[in-house]
Structure formats: structure tokens, C-alpha cells
């Protein structure tokens, strides 16, 4: 390899992995994570340089059988994702130095660090792969290393369930990818991604479907999303940050890598857009109902993957319709949202991890008042929330604005399908707009319930601020959220992405630095006027809030998370599908004297109960039948051999 920064970065990561695999001491873990940090720095510099310079590098590295070879390719797309991965790991590695030390056993702590490094390494190489073989190899390495991290707290029963869900879904995803790559090989004679361009239109459609389902499962698009809300709460928070922030994007990368290499068809765009809209809306609707802070963030990841897919769908539709400018805008929006979501979701997961670490609970009902005990974490969480809620001038606002711009410009669509497409885009736009609004509500709820008011439990009362290093780890993505927001227009110009800024193109993205300046000045003026001319000029009096005549305020009087989302739950009752059940027992035989009763409102897990479990049960039944063939008796096996020989004879005689 002739790229010293890349080679150095990857070598440091491998060194870090080996170090914590081999030696189980705190110093080794710290050094190992330090190496991760260093390697992330090198790789960020490398990727930024590649993105800026627009060079392309092909690295034929190792071939051990003729079609099975490792080869790597770096262009702007892969450089962009390398940048994304390394920026997130920059923060996560610092955060993890203190975070991993929470565990009891030395061996497990070291294993945690080693697997995390391996996980990062495999994700990087997936993104760099130039052919299907190396892609699948590192894809599986990525899945397996993250699987071990999901099952990290294996004593807990929910970890087992989460790991099972994750394992099955990720294997299913690999099956789809496998069939696509095998198809590529049989048709072009090579696993090389450049072969995608040579496929016939029909073969291309099958490859697209196969790859899309494979990547949609891994990215967690509805209805393949179910593993996400299980896997994220089960894994340690730094790993959730990586999985949600980065691994989902690796799947998006795979999809983009394919789509950019081929000539797409219109229905692909419609399909991707539909999946994206559903994922976005359902993701945020489910998140609103959730009271587990990490599971809530997982649902929010589903929503954001939906937004990214909407961007990709728009890109495909505009590209097929010949609107290159709009296609570029949508693609840039999708790509930028990938980066943004990686930044703020890893920040939020890390901050949530700090909260869980300090309070010992993930349940929002048991939190509250943390802003007094953990002010810095609260500030960082607020930055993440503001970004994900897409408020200006943060980065989330920019990418969502770009998507809105693309939607609004869809009137430029022309041609036979245009009426249909316009209706579709309006529907999708309304789902998208609703999603944005609900996402803002969601994070008002999470931040308010977690950090404001009074502590609801003793655990929340006892919480203290986390160590400086953990805060620093979160500060990196937080700062990047602000900076990429403020300088978004400049970044796009700097990296020369095909979006016209202020140059008479159909859609423009405003200069956030300017918007940010205006906002700053406005806030300053409001603050000054309130200070100088407000009612507080008299003596300040501190009294307890009016408590409806009660003597003391109690945390149970606070706005609860369930109460906050209740109006929305009522509106979306059809989606949540609750089930009411009650039972009563009586003391006498005439059912007159009431003795005991229970009533329960249960949320039906729609996808799990109507999609996943029936499929699992069907598979189970078939497996039982097949297992019956395996009866452990010699005679039966000889019979099978006999029948196989007969069948083979018949086959060769009449069919071969």
C-alpha cells in the first residue's frame, strides 16, 4: 500500500486489537484505545484529503484463489464514509477509556476493547472493499464482532434474545448480499464491483432487489427493523454509538456503491422512497411511545435511516427523470444526513450511556432533574437533541432542509409518469414533514424528562457528573455537529460536491454561518432586553411553585413521559394497536362480592407478532420435519444413500 496515512491508521487499529486481546491490564486497554484515537485521527486526515483531492486509489492486496481476492478501492464515496467512521470513533475511543472500566472482570473489559477495535477495523475495510469477496468477508467480520458485543452482558436474558434477533437478521442480510454477489460472479466472471455496469437490465433489477433487501435489513428499515430496538439497549453504550452511528451507514454505503455504478430504473427509486417514508414515520411514532432511553434512540435511528433512504429514493427518481441538479442535491442531502446522524446519534448514545451509567436505569420514568447533577452531560445531550430535532443552525437542519428543497423542486418533473410521481412525492413529503415535527417533539420529551424538573428516583438523585475524558469524548461529536452545521455551505464548496450554492441552481442551501449569526444576535438582543427592561429589576423573590394547595412538591406530580406522549398516542392509536385485557375474580359463587382484579393495556408488537413470529414458527415446523430424517439409525442412512444412488441414476439417464 502506498498510502502511509491509511496503512498507518489500519495498522494502529490492528495493533490495538492485538494488544488488548493479548494483555489484560488497564494500561493496555488505555494504550489500545489511545491507538484507536490516533488511528481515527490519521484516517480522518487521509479521508478528508481524498475527499478534497478527488483522487482514486486501487489497492490489489492479496489473492489466495483466483476469484477470491482482497482488493480495495478508494474514491470520494468510500473516502466520505471512512471520514464518517473515523470522526465517530475519534469521540467514541476517548469516551470508552473510562467507560469500559465499569465492568467487573478484567478479561471482559479487555475483550470489549479488542472486539470494539476489530469492529471498527472491519467496518473500515467493508467501506474500502473493491470486490464482492472482500466486502462480504469484512461484512461478516463486522457482524460477528458486533454480535459478540451485543451479547456482551450475556447473563441478562434480554441480551440472549437481542443477540438471537440480531444474528438471524444479520445472517439473512448476508444471504441476500451473497446471492447478489454470486449472481454478479456468474454473469461477469468476477466479483469486482466494476462489473455491475456490465449486467443486463433484467439481471440488474434482480441484483438491485437482492442488494436492497440485504442492506435494508442491516440498516434497519421497516419492516426489517426489529433487531435494532433489541440490540442497542443490550449492548454497551459506546458500542450502541458505533452500531447506530456507523454500522447502519455502512449498509447505506453498500447501497450507494451499487446505485452509483449502474443505470437505475424508475421503480427502484419509488421502492426506496416508499421504504424510506415508512421507516421514517413508523420509526419516530414508535420512538414516541418508548420509555427506555436507549431503545428510544434505536427507534430514532430507524427514523433517520428512513430519511436517508428518502434522500436516496429522490436521487434515483430525479436521476431517471434526467434532473441532474436535483439528483445531486438529494444525493448530497442523503450523504450529509449520514454524516450528521452518525455524529449526533453517537453523541446521544454516549450521553445516554453516561446517564445510564450514573443512575443505573434506562427507564425515563425513573430519571429527571439530572441537569443539576450532570450539567455538562445535559449540555452535550441538548446539543445532540437540537441537532437531531433539526433546529438551525445545526447540521441536522441543513440536511433536512436540503431534502425539503429537493421535494419542493419536484414540480420540475416531466414526462408520462410525472403525475404519478408528483402524487407520490407529495405523500412522501407529508410523511417526511410529520416525521420532522414528531422528531422534535420526541427530543423535547427525552431531554425534558431526563434532565429537567426534580429527580424521580433515588438513583437519579445520586447521579454525579462523569469523568472528564468521557465528556471530552462526547464533546468531539458535539463540536462537529455545530461546526458542520455552521460551515455546511463552505464544506460543500470545499469538497466540490455537485450542489449549486448561490450559483443560480434550482435549489440552494442557505449559508448557515449567516443564519447562525442572525440567530446569535437575536438571542443576544432578547437576553439583553429581558435583563435590562424586564420585570426582574425589583428585588428577586424565590418561592415554591403553586402546588394546587398541597404543602410540598413531589416528583410524582411532574409531567411523566407517558403523559407527555399521551396525546400523540391517542392520535396514532391505529398504529400502536393496543390490547385491553382485564380479569376479575369474586369471593362468592354468584359473582357479587368482588375479590380481586387485574387490568392491563398492552402494546401489541405488531411486526413481531404478525410478521416475525409466524415466519419463525413456520421455519421451526419445517426444521422439526427435517430433523425427523436424522434419526441416528444406521439402516436409515444406508437407505438414504440407496435412494440417492437410484435418484442419481434416474437423473443422469433422463435429465442430464
Amino acid at each position: 500500500m502506498s498510502e502511509p496515512l491509511l496503512t498507518g491508521g489500519l495498522a494502529l487499529l490492528l495493533l490495538g486489537t492485538a494488544l488488548s486481546f493479548l494483555y489484560r491490564s488497564k494500561n493496555c486497554r488505555t494504550v489500545s484505545l489511545g491507538l484507536t484515537f490516533l488511528s481515527s485521527g490519521l484516517l480522518s486526515a487521509f479521508a478528508a484529503g481524498m475527499l478534497y483531492g478527488g483522487r482514486e486509489v486501487l489497492i490489489e492486496s492479496y489473492s489466495f484463489l483466483s476469484p477470491l481476492e482482497f482488493s480495495f478501492f478508494i474514491d470520494r464515496l468510500s473516502a466520505g464514509f471512512v471520514l464518517l467512521i473515523s470522526l465517530v470513533t475519534l469521540g467514541v475511543s476517548l469516551y470508552s477509556i473510562k467507560y469500559v472500566e465499569d465492568e467487573k472482570s478484567e478479561g471482559r473489559k479487555s475483550l470489549h476493547v479488542a472486539l470494539m477495535n476489530l469492529f471498527i477495523f472491519s467496518m473500515l475495510l467493508v467501506v474500502l472493499s473493491a470486490n464482492g469477496f472482500s466486502f462480504l468477508f469484512f461484512w461478516e467480520l463486522m457482524s460477528i464482532s458486533s454480535l459478540f458485543l451485543v451479547i456482551y452482558e450475556y447473563e441478562k436474558p434480554e441480551s440472549g434474545k437481542a443477540a438471537l434477533f440480531y444474528f438471524i437478521m444479520t445472517s439473512l442480510s448476508t444471504v441476500f448480499l451473497f446471492s447478489a454477489f454470486i449472481g454478479l460472479y456468474t454473469r461477469t466472471g468476477s466479483f469486482d464491483f466494476r462489473g455491475f455496469g456490465l449486467l443486463s437490465p433484467e439481471a440488474l433489477s434482480w441484483t438491485f432487489l437482492s442488494l436492497f433487501f440485504g442492506f435494508a435489513i442491516k440498516a434497519g428499515a421497516v419492516p426489517f427493523h426489529k433487531w435494532l430496538p433489541y440490540a442497542h439497549p443490550a449492548s454497551p453504550s459506546n458500542i450502541s454509538a458505533l452500531m447506530s452511528g456507523v454500522m447502519l451507514k455502512v449498509a447505506i454505503y453498500g447501497l450507494l456503491r451499487f446505485l452509483l455504478a449502474v443505470e437505475p430504473e424508475l421503480w427502484w427509486g419509488v421502492l426506496v422512497l416508499a421504504f424510506g417514508s415508512f421507516s421514517a414515520l413508523l420509526g419516530v411514532v414508535y420512538a414516541l411511545k418508548e420509555n427506555d432511553i436507549k431503545r428510544m434512540l434505536a427507534y430514532s435511528s430507524i427514523e433517520n435511516v428512513g430519511l436517508i433512504l428518502i434522500g436516496i429514493g429522490l436521487y434515483l427518481i430525479f436521476r431517471v427523470s434526467g434532473l441532474a441538479g436535483l439528483a445531486g442535491l438529494s444525493l448530497a442531502a442523503a450523504g450529509f444526513h449520514c454524516l450528521n446522524h452518525a455524529l449526533f446519534k453517537s453523541l446521544l448514545f454516549m450521553a445516554a450511556g453516561s446517564v445510564v451509567h450514573e443512575t443505573g436505569t434506562r427507564n425515563l420514568e425513573d430519571l429527571g432533574g439530572l441537569v443539576k447533577h450532570m450539567p455538562q452531560t445535559a449540555l452535550l445531550f441538548l446539543i445532540g437533541s437540537v441537532s437531531i430535532a433539526a433546529l438551525p443552525p445545526m447540521n441536522g437542519f441543513v440536511s433536512e432542509l436540503m431534502l425539503f428543497q429537493a421535494f419542493f423542486s419536484s414540480s420540475a418533473l416531466a414526462g408520462a409518469e410525472a403525475p404519478f410521481l408528483k402524487v407520490l412525492l407529495v405523500l412522501s413529503l407529508s410523511a417526511f414533514a410529520l416525521t420532522s415535527a414528531l422528531a422534535a417533539t420526541l427530543f423535547v420529551k427525552v431531554f425534558g424528562i431526563t434532565f429537567l424538573a426534580k429527580p424521580r428516583t433515588e438513583g437519579a438523585e445520586r447521579a454525579r457528573e462523569v469523568p472528564k475524558l468521557m465528556l471530552l469524548g462526547q464533546a468531539i461529536p458535539a463540536a462537529l455537529c455545530i461546526l458542520t452545521g455552521l460551515f455546511s455551505a463552505r464544506l460543500f464548496t470545499l469538497f466540490g460536491l455537485p450542489v449549486g450554492f448561490g450559483s443560480g441552481a434550482e435549489a440552494e442551501v442557505p449559508d448557515m454561518l449567516f443564519v447562525g449569526g442572525i440567530l446569535m444576535v437575536t438571542y443576544l438582543l432578547v437576553w439583553l432586553s429581558v435583563r435590562n427592561f424586564g420585570p426582574s429589576s425589583g428585588p428577586r423573590v424565590c418561592k415554591e411553585t403553586w402546588g394546587c394547595g398541597g404543602l410540598a412538591q413531589h416528583p410524582s406530580m411532574e409531567y411523566s413521559p407517558a403523559g407527555f406522549s399521551e396525546p400523540l398516542v391517542v392520535i396514532f392509536k391505529k398504529i400502536y394497536r393496543t390490547q385491553l385485557s382485564s380479569s376479575r375474580s369474586f369471593a362468592d359463587s354468584q359473582d357479587c362480592v368482588f375479590e380481586h382484579g387485574t387490568a392491563e393495556i398492552r402494546l401489541i408488537k405488531f411486526f413481531e407478532e404478525y410478521l416475525y413470529l409466524p415466519v419463525a414458527q413456520a421455519v421451526d415446523r419445517v426444521s422439526m420435519k427435517v430433523a425427523g430424517l436424522q434419526n441416528g439409525r444406521l439402516d436409515t442412512y444406508v437407505l438414504y444413500v440407496f435412494l440417492a444412488v437410484i435418484a442419481l441414476m434416474g437423473f443422469t439417464r433422463w435429465f442430464a
Binding site: 430433523a627 439402516d635 436409515t636 444406508v638 437407505l639 444413500v641 441414476m649 434416474g650
Partner: protein, 233 residues
Amino acid sequence: MITPGFTDPLFLEGAVRILFVFVLVTAALVISVRNLASLLTTYTVQSLLLTLIAGLLYLIEGSPVLLAISVLTLVSKVLLIPFFINRVEAKIKISRDMKFNYLEPTSSLLVSIGLVLLVYVFLSGFVGELALGRLFFFGAVIGLSLTLMGMLVMFSRRKVITKVLGYLTMENGVLLFGIFVTELPFIIEVLIVIDLIIIVLLTTIFAVGMDSTIEEYRQKLQRLHIWPGREYL
């Protein structure tokens, strides 16, 4: 008086054809006979028939390998192996194998007829490629059928000793097929015979511990914790 010319190829070929019929008869007996002593006799006769076929073929073709095979078969399969199995049968004190799996003898015989027909149809598809004479084609059909019938014996009968005889029958089929079609190198034939003898020897050794069906033998092993195999339904 006209004395028949024993070296007349036509006569020899006719004799081989007659022997084929006898081979099929012995195969049918291996499938259906319940008495172990008769079963062993049947096998011995079958091997003797093979010896004769190889010998007659030597007279027709004149290839010394065929003579060698004939002698080898005589020594190993007519004398040595039956001798060992006889010892086993004496030791295990059972004389009859009454139990059958999957197929009863009557249906087994019907299936065997079907097998011969199937093999005939199967091989007739390859007559052009193999370039065989009519006798040789016949021999190939009988050989392959005998192999499959041996396999049928292996899964349809319960006693281990019968299974071993089924395996030996299979090998006889392979030998027959080899003589008529592929011309196995002699060394391979020798190796196969050595394998067979070792199998029979092992059977002799196991007979000490294994005196009935394979299920009971496995239960014995399970009791001794030698084999943790699990019984499925």
C-alpha cells in the same frame, strides 16, 4: 460323437450367461434367506460363481489379470472370508435373522426386479459411450444390480452379520462390474480384498461384544458411555 469344444468362444459365452442367472439367484437368496448358515453358503456360492466367470472370461480373452482375479476371489471370498464368518456365527449363537427394516423379503424381491430393469435402462443410455459387446453389457447390468441389491440388504436387514454379508455382496457386484467394464487395475482389486478381510476380521472381534442387532449393540455402548449417541424418534 461330437464332443463339445470347451474353448469355443460361443460355448464359453453361453456358460457365462448361465452363470449370470445363477448370480442373480444367489442375490435374491441373500435378500430373502433367514437362516444364517444358508446365507453364508449362498455368499460362498456367489463368490464361487464369480471365480468361474472370471476364469471363463480368461479363457475367452486370455488376459492374465482375469486369471489372477479368479484365483484371488477363490482364495479370499470362497475360502478365507466364509471361514471367518463361520467362526463368528458359531460364537454368537444365533442362527436366524428374522427381522427386517423398511422392506419385507417379498417386496425386496420386487424392488430388486425393478432395480435390474432400472440399471438396464440406465446403462443402455451409455452403450454408445462405453462401446461394449452384448455379453459385456449384460455383465455390467448384473454387476451394478448386484451392488444395489447388496445395499438393499444392508438397510433392510437387522442383524449385523447379515449387514456384513450385504456389504460383501455389494463388493461382489463391484468386482463383476469391474471385470466387464472398467478393467480395474489388479492392485486395486487386491486392496479391496484386503479391506474386506479386515472388515470381516473386525466383525469377528466385535462379535464378542455384539451378538445381536446394531440397536442393542449401541445400547451396550451407551451403557458403557463409549458413545453418547442420542436416540431420536
